[in-house]
Symmetry: C2
Subunit: 367 residues, 2 copies
């Protein structure tokens, strides 16, 4: 038996966050459920897809009984968000759950073998550090779009965390481009791990929904937990080795271009109209103070644009997948951007001018 009263607004929010851990294609019905369980005076809501788990604590007043129950996450989400009053009464007994609010009443069946719900384990004695919520959110935003979407490429289908020399680096790459963001840490421990992209999405949701200014991260070699007040996201790390990304960071440049990011983004958008119907390439032709962008489609024709630049070094003609340039530019929130080229076959480094801490590497394509 379990009986408690809860505020709709808080319950709705926590159900929504916990539900996001649930996989879209789960075979076992218990993995489509949320587990509700009183723990130490609060109601704990849990969800897991076995790789990513969310634990959300909800304030409840006095409660009777101590039973746990599991109920379909979609169903309870749909019910709670439509309830008429803020005060909601839950009564659970022998597999039957009654929810009452105002004149509304639901009599629901719950999952029979609640003890089959997977336990979520993590070791709070691991390496622990804190980071500003907004900084971590920004770092994820700057790198995660470069991760591979191919779940078969396990090492690249995620974000690499590397703590080294007092800095935390996040790196993501799909083999054609790479993003790197770094931030000073308050601890000196050295460690690294890979978070799967799906786990990253969960943590991004946690970061964007929390009002906590800091996130506490605990790493115990097989799992990492991200704690923000009432909510903890626990993630199994990917058991793979991240490629040696430092090898692809260019060392010396022969052509440096400074340009305005809006000019470039607008011109690129216009040549992409043709590129996306053609060979998915944009040619950049760099001369003294002009960059000409052009794209061809054998069926539809061609587009040509030009923008003013400041150039240092040699003239250059080089081709790229325009999507990779466009996405990198979108994630740089500075007006002045540097394009640092070695030659038309080597990786291009794109970074904000006069701002340290993040950069993008994009491989050219052949003409």
């Amino acid at each position: 038996m379990l009986k408690f009263t809860v505020q709709k607004s808080e319950l709705e929010e926590k159900i929504s966050i916990a539900s996001s851990a649930i996989g879209s294609r789960t075979v076992d019905p218990i993995l489509q459920c949320l587990l509700f369980k009183p723990v130490g005076g609060v109601l704990r809501i849990q969800a897991t897809d076995l790789q990513t788990s969310v634990i959300a604590n909800v304030k409840i007043g006095e409660y009777e009984g101590n039973d746990a129950f599991a109920v379909d996450a979609d169903l309870i989400d749909d019910i709670v968000k439509n309830l008429p009053e803020d005060e909601v009464l839950f009564e659970y007994s022998n597999g039957k759950l009654t929810i009452r609010s105002g004149k509304s009443k639901y009599n629901l069946s719950t999952v029979s073998e609640v003890e089959r719900f997977p336990s979520i384990e993590y070791d709070e004695s691991g390496i622990t550090f804190s980071i500003d919520t907004s900084i971590l959110e920004e770092m994820f935003d700057r790198v995660s779009f470069c991760a591979s979407n191919e779940s078969a490429m396990r090492a690249l289908n995620g974000v690499y965390f590397e703590a080294h020399g007092g800095f935390l680096r996040l790196v993501a790459s799909d083999g054609y481009r790479l993003a790197l963001a770094e931030q000073k840490l308050t601890i000196d421990s050295e460690f690294d791990f890979i978070l799967a992209l799906k786990s990253v999405r969960e943590i991004e949701k946690l970061l964007s929904s929390t009002t906590e200014p800091e996130i506490k991260i605990t790493f115990d070699h097989s799992t990492v937990s991200f704690n923000a007040g009432d909510i903890t996201t626990v993630v199994r790390v990917v058991e793979e080795t991240f490629p040696d990304y430092k090898r692809v960071l260019p060392k010396a440049f022969k052509t440096r271009v400074i340009l305005n990011s809006d000019d470039f983004a607008e011109a690129l958008k216009r040549v992409m109209v043709i590129a996306k119907r053609g060979n998915e390439k944009v040619q950049l032709k760099i001369t003294d103070d002009v960059m000409e962008l052009s794209s061809q489609s054998s069926e539809y024709g061609e587009a040509v644009e030009s923008i003013p630049i400041t150039k240092d070094g040699e003239d250059l003609v080089v081709n790229f997948n325009p999507k990779f340039l466009s996405e990198a530019i979108k994630h740089i929130d500075e007006k002045e951007i540097e394009f640092n080229f070695v030659d038309n076959l080597s990786p291009l480094q794109i970074n904000p001018r006069n701002v340290e801490g993040y950069l993008y590497i994009v491989l050219p394509v052949r003409a």
Copy 2:
């Protein structure tokens, strides 16, 4: 040869409206094109899927040449909306089209056999009447959602227009429910026709995008044209007979319920959480001053709601597809609504209280 200058903003708008006539699955590439053609000092843009056609006139200044050209609608839409400046120069010659705006330049191929573009014919000497744009838009909004989505049911997959006794009636039905809206006309002609749902969607776009206060409708027995200033939508009518809908309009009622539409909509939304996971039914149990709404799902349980009503006549228990009730209620913009019942097997009439001119009929389902 054809050479003209045009304002981006107007061109973009007209391209967007004309493009909407283009079918999503056309086999002939010319039907994916817009035809551009100077006619009487303006630029005429045309698109057709052979059933629905749009003719949009765009202001241009002095122009040279008189050739028509056809270009892929998606491509030109994509190009024009991204152009940097408001002034756009088009130059067409021997199948090649150049578009210039600011520093942007496109060299495009056009469709070779432009004379294959279907001509759009309609007889301006047919029956003609005008109707307020906002009134026609409201009438469509009130009925078109009840039309069948099955294109094989040709007579029901559209909206029936019936002019009779100085009134225009719009009727739509999918066989399970029916919507009717009527409006006084300024002409006495008697005529009727069916507009296919796809054509209705086109005309709805015309109505929502135009700033013209009146729409001029011309009917010549095989086509209807809807003219709003610069834009004319020409539609082939469906060559079918609409069923005798007057037969299903209930005549005498045994139970009349007056209720608040928000109360009902909210309660219905909550029982639908269960209904949509169960047997897709809602039971209405009507007693003196209460309507109880309930739904069952063998897997998940049940939901029960109650709302206050004013009842005239007999008690009643009756079942409906909740979606049909919900959609009807959403289209009534009055707070006080009447449910007029004959019995639990006969069609229910739903109408706003004290407002004439539109009503909904919904068939019950068996318990």
